[in-house]
Symmetry: C2
Subunit: 342 residues, 2 copies
């Protein structure tokens, strides 16, 4: 496999751009014209044949022009792509949706998901912040009824989570108050993680009724950390229905169901939290079968110097990367900013 010369690179770039724009295989004649070089179709054919040998292109059938392979796309984005700045309109819209103060975290995340989906006409997602390092702000225990206690947790960022706890005996409001006070005094301001560890240790042996409540509360705290490992917002999956290349409905159904299940996707994305840049998964690179016809563009978002989560879009391999990349990047930045205010 020999290195590509300048002309071959240019042709590959031009071919992929054309294919992204039209979605149909590109032939030598059309490419010769579109590339701007003064070159005959025959020459182009030679070059294309070489590129096919090297794995960048493939023809769907004998006489149908050529389309990029995943390898071709990969080379394209790594070596050929020139990212264009965000269009003023898109930027405008981004600012409009994410630029001003929104007090509710949940709302901000939704806004980000929506705006991604809207601007790209593909599926947008936001992986929600891990709360692992959040600290416990406040706990409340309310006797809802005989033998049922409602526990409410509040973290320093204002996340609220609640859960019903059944007790064996009825507990008075005073007792619950006392438990809450104990909890708040001992653990208020401490990281959730730590609170749970402490509780786990302290409650090992004791079997008092009141301790049962604390233990349940601890479980709730654990759930807040756990559940959250899975959380993810997705918007606009249905935009994918419009893609002709995914029209074979069997395939698409699999994908949509997979998106629904989200778990594996979460897995994939967590791996990309480590990078601090926009990341691209093209086709099989995601290592996630139902996505093998698609690309994923993701970027982590950062609040106060710390990566909180990932966001991005899912779409066909043939997506306008030059625009998607800055868009995802920009959204990530704005989301980071929006969240750092809250």
């Amino acid at each position: 496999m020999m290195a590509m010369d300048e002309r071959a690179r240019h042709l590959l770039k031009s071919l992929i751009e054309q294919h992204i724009a039209n979605g149909v295989p590109v032939g030598s004649r059309q490419l010769a014209k579109g590339a701007g070089l003064n070159i005959s179709p025959a020459t182009v054919r030679n070059v294309m044949a070489d590129l096919e040998d090297e794995g960048y292109l493939i023809s769907p059938h004998t006489s149908a022009g050529r389309i990029p392979t995943p390898v071709g796309y990969r080379f394209f984005v790594d070596a050929l792509l020139r990212v264009v700045p965000l269009s003023p309109e898109s930027h405008q819209l981004l600012i409009h949706r994410l630029g001003h103060y929104i007090p509710d975290t949940e709302q901000v995340l939704h806004a980000a998901t929506e705006v991604l989906s809207e601007l790209t006409h593909m599926a947008g997602f936001v992986r929600v912040p891990r709360r692992a390092n959040r600290t416990l702000r406040h706990v409340d225990f309310l006797a809802l009824r005989e033998k049922e206690v409602l526990a409410i947790f509040v973290t320093d960022k204002g996340d609220v989570e609640n859960r019903l706890i059944r007790t064996e005996h009825a507990l008075s409001a005073a007792e619950l108050n006392q438990a809450a006070n104990f909890f708040n005094e001992s653990y208020g301001g401490r990281p959730l993680q730590e609170v749970i560890q402490h509780l786990q240790r302290d409650l090992q042996q004791s079997r008092h009724e009141m301790d049962r409540i604390l233990r349940s509360a601890m479980e709730l705290g654990e759930e807040m950390l756990e559940e959250d490992q899975q959380r993810m917002l997705i918007e606009g999956e249905f935009q994918l229905l419009d893609l002709p290349e995914l029209a074979g409905s069997e395939r698409l159904r699999k994908l949509l169901n997979a998106v629904r299940q989200k778990r594996d996707l979460v897995h994939l994305l967590d791996s990309s939290m480590r990078s601090s840049e926009v990341r691209l998964f093209i086709g099989e690179e995601s290592g996630f079968a139902p996505l093998s016809d698609c690309s994923v563009v993701s970027a982590p978002y950062v609040v106060d110097g710390e990566v909180l989560g990932v966001l991005g879009v899912i779409g066909p391999m043939r997506m306008p990367y030059q625009q998607i990349i800055p868009l995802v990047d920009g959204t990530a930045h704005l989301l980071g900013r929006a969240l750092s205010q809250s």
Copy 2:
């Protein structure tokens, strides 16, 4: 339009059953055989022609047998349908999923949605309980940060809702406590509706800082009532992708997007809360364009003698009503029971 004789009714019933089973138009030969009557195809043809004249059947094209019209389905379910009891397996599964105690309301509702979707292979939905008549249990105000207060509402059934409120001046924990105490004492145990009305009146003129918090809290309460008008769970929309009759993807996309938007659907269903029985909307009867190819089977669920919400399924007109109806009915009953325990 003359009344149908016994034989015609039998044939119509048989035809619709066959069509529900196979999804293809039914011809005279097949119907003659399937109906069990000793009758020739020619006779059947005469009857079918009559049924077509009267609007119960239609042929997709000249020589393709006949399929039921919405009118046909309507007549079928009203006059011909014999509902079969829930199959033991389905009943088993229902009990298993909804029969035992689950403390968390949200979880119960989800379980109901899921089980509907699973057993029918169609889209299942649950319209969530209105909280209008719930009473206020407890309110908390927490100073989250300078000039930001987190308000937490708890209703008597353990629903928790929260919201960030920005204030103009910083407020001390003591002040907030005082406000919360005031709130709890004045309004604890009162219906939310009433609380809001009172607040609305009491706060009309005053402009104190603390009142601003109360006013924001009132808005939150209003939101709890409002937002909730829209809430709805849907599960298994993707099952609809499997239906050949909806395969024309354009149409389906519209439907799925509509389902996504839920609003109009909520509207439709609220109207069916008034009935205390299973209700059927066939095709256009729903008055909701994207659903015109579909039927909706819904039933209200009742807790302590009061209708809390609606649940049901969305599927093709050609659905096995004899089984779907008791299933929806049974699910509604079980959900009512499950909720009355909590």
